[in-house]
């Protein structure tokens, strides 16, 4: 906690410094950059080299390969969209439509589906405490981190060939712009325009491809505050909490739809694997 406060103070100090004029005005005006953002990026680059997220990738891989659950099965037969057991490159091609469930599913949702159908885990029990705490990392989080790590360096390419996938995108877009709650907020209130920020944190405009990647990149992410691993399911849940919306249901259609909207907007950009967050 103290560390987080110290960090905020340092960031505030940096923000107060005069910004040197950009040489030659060569940067595109769409993505506003300033000294604060650049300092954070340096900070992140130093930490990326030894990202504790890798520990969760290792753990997730072990969980994937070990026979577990009431059915004592591994996840080797889990189909993430590229065929049973194919993990490499699957994460960047999700969310996608799965004929066996008749639903569009994102990575974490599909992994939990596999844990339930193949290993016999109880879906309700898994949904009870789905997010990491300082003392506990749920298995789906570690598994999602492992799966995401297997798409490192690949281009984000969620399919949009099926009507169900296009419907998920359309629904996600609708949710993104839907204003409600006690603050009359929508995702777009913060993420629908260029150059917005919360305190020192610059907010990407998630409706633009070159910025949408910033919402997708770095997740699953290791949060230094508290030292916990989080996935996009948590990220979106927390966005709704901050908007004072009712909490969305874990792995619900709405979250998959919103993730489809984000993924399609970030299409074609290179995914760098699990990240690190302050």
């Amino acid at each position: 906690m103290t560390r987080a406060l110290a960090l905020c103070a340092a960031a505030a100090f940096i923000a107060a410094l005069p910004v040197p004029p950009a040489a030659g005005q060569s940067k595109p005006p769409a993505v506003e950059r300033d000294a604060t953002t650049e300092e954070f990026e340096k900070f992140r680059a130093v930490l990326e080299a030894d990202n504790p997220a890798e520990l969760f990738e290792v753990k997730g891989e072990e969980l994937w390969k070990t026979p577990r659950g009431p059915k004592n099965a591994s996840l080797a037969a889990c189909d993430l969209g590229l065929g049973p057991g194919v993990v490499k490159g699957a994460y960047v091609q999700l969310p996608r439509y799965f004929a066996d469930t008749g639903k569009v599913m994102d990575a974490e949702r599909r992994i939990v589906h596999c844990m339930v159908t193949l290993q016999g885990f109880d879906a309700a029990a898994l949904a009870k405490q789905p997010f990491s705490t300082e003392t506990r990392t749920p298995d789906p989080v570690a598994l999602t981190t492992f799966v995401a790590g297997q798409s490192r360096g690949m281009k984000i390419a969620p399919p949009q060939s099926l009507p169900q996938e296009r419907a998920a995108f359309a629904l996600g877009r609708e949710i993104f712009f839907y204003r409600a709650g006690s603050y009359d907020f929508s995702c777009a209130s913060c993420h629908g325009e260029d150059g917005k920020r919360i305190r020192t944190q610059q907010l990407p405009n998630l409706t633009r491809p070159e910025q949408a990647i910033r919402g997708y990149q770095g997740w699953p992410g290791y949060r230094m505050t508290g030292g916990v691993m989080h996935t996009l399911q948590w990220r979106l849940n927390d966005c709704f909490r901050q908007q004072r919306f009712p909490e969305p249901e874990y792995l619900s259609d709405s979250l998959t739809a919103l993730l489809t909207y984000l993924a399609v907007n970030a299409k074609g950009q290179v995914y760098k694997g699990p990240g690190i967050k302050r």
């Binding site: 080299a49 030894d50 890798e54 520990l55 753990k59 300082e134 290791y222 030292g227």
Partner: protein
Amino acid sequence: MAEPMKIRAKLEGDVLDVRVLMAHPMETGQRKDGAGNLVPLHFIQTITAQLNGKPVFQADTSQAISRNPVFGFRLKGAKAGDKLSITWTDNKGDKRTDEIVVGAA
């Protein structure tokens, strides 16, 4: 209980640059849980490194180190094919050893 570490070792001439990521809660003994009770002290006390079974490095560490710490050091006289093993022991007697072959990864 103890989870695997991630060891990375890069040879630069005969100097081996080692970075180890360890999964550990590293409780300081000063933090309180949700119910207001102190979370007991739980931290890595010693880290040792062995090259081909021979001790080359030992560190006594304290609770002032962060959760899931990364530890780095440089080692002279290593070559490709050497076996590097790292062991940590915490104050509850829990321990974990992982080994890599230099130049394999």
